[in-house]
Symmetry: C2
Subunit: 252 residues, 2 copies
């Protein structure tokens, strides 16, 4: 049984090493989605000529910032798979590691993975809307990713988004719950394009406007930690009665 | 606003050092419950004579196995408090650390905390029934506690309990998701008193009977990992549409 509502596909092209290279991908997954491996089934294809080592390295790097930053329900799957198939049909010598071409290919691969990761979050079981958490000003990219993931994982943030509740305190609590040292007094926080906290303190925001912003198909939660230059994103979805129903349904 | 439906109180007595000592306690908490500190508001009282150091040590030990093993929604609170007040009204010299009396007092304190922790799990936001996870045969008590907590935290286990779905695979997946090395081929698993897996493989259980067992007010999930002598328990509750409604409700 699958609870996916839509097929998830993506293809992008870039000019690399004098050739127009394509990376395509498809993914499947809707529940039991939480970063650990790649957390779902994903197949990527490219006509680029790639040695296995470079392909593996590029795929790992792309997954770190994309598939490993998606969470629907914090439950990991037991059969996560992400595969990259490179046919070399575009011709030419394999892309050499450490070159500008390798970097460009990595960026193309990552862009396709971001697109697919977002499609998975959007189609989360029972979800009515998608949540994007964007962190900047963290001590490292890894810290930023961890904090972003904690935000999209928090049941209280997820239900607040579902209910369009501009409960910025739940977001601050999730940031503090990521296991990363933070200084709450330097945190600026936005929901959509409205700043809801400055230096860890509530701004004079209009609750109705923020609630409206939380009705968007994609709700952006953005925090600047006021520290270093670490940044990261994570994607998730709201928690609805639909998720409970889908996973509580049982018929002998 | 509180979402507690019932008051949570407990009092127990024991004969310690020739005196009948009493430990009483009350706790408040229903959502935003997940082990980190003590994860809610709890006040314990006793008439025992205690030096602060022994009181602190006994309280920490008791919390480790009780309040820190309760999870309603994996979201930690920002104002967890657990306090022990000792009046010394029972008279006598303060209980000396390292003695049989100190151990007996610790056991009494832990028993009261277990009772309160279970009351909190039972009154989890939106919960229709309580889940107890009991792990034995782990490498250490800490590992066993961590695995037990993962089981009661898993949204997929929680929704399966809500739907009375004898989905033993979700329980095995949660065990494997605890970040503790395990050998799935040595895991025996019970739901209520019915064994559903032996050596990691499904037994020939009657689904209807297990589904009935999952309709109990308290659903016991028990696993023997077939390793060492580590054991631990955790308490949680099912995940229902009620939890979503309580936390998505928003009125300006």
């Amino acid at each position: 049984m699958t609870t996916d509502l839509v097929p998830k596909e993506c293809a992008m092209q870039a000019q690399i090493g004098g050739r127009r290279l394509t990376v395509g991908g498809m993914a499947k997954g809707s529940g039991m989605i939480h970063p650990n491996l790649a957390t779902m089934l994903g197949v990527l294809t490219t006509d680029a000529a790639l040695e296995p080592e470079l392909a593996q390295r590029a795929l790992r790097a792309a997954a770190t910032n994309t598939f490993n930053q998606v969470s629907v329900d914090r439950d990991t799957s037991t059969n996560d798979t992400l595969v990259l198939l490179a046919s070399g049909a575009a011709g030419g010598e394999p892309i050499a590691p450490g070159t500008a071409d390798a970097e460009a290919f990595g960026a193309l691969l990552t862009a396709v993975c971001v697109d697919l990761a977002r499609q998975i979050a959007r189609d989360g079981e029972g979800a009515s809307r998608m949540i994007t958490a964007r962190i900047e000003g963290a001590s490292s990219d890894a810290d930023a990713r961890r904090i972003a993931r904690e935000i999209v994982c928090s049941p209280l943030v997820k239900t607040a988004v579902y209910g369009r509740d501009p409960n910025w305190g739940r977001i601050l609590a999730a940031i503090g719950n990521a296991g990363v040292p933070i200084d709450p007094t330097t945190i600026d926080l936005w929901i959509g394009d409205i700043q809801v906290a400055s230096g860890g303190t509530r701004t004079n925001f209009d609750e109705g406007r923020v609630s409206d912003a939380m009705g968007a198909e994609e709700v952006l939660i953005r925090a600047s930690l006021g520290g270093d230059s670490g940044r990261g994103e994570a994607w998730g979805c709201d928690l609805t009665e639909g998720y409970v129903r889908i996973n509580a349904e049982y018929t002998t």
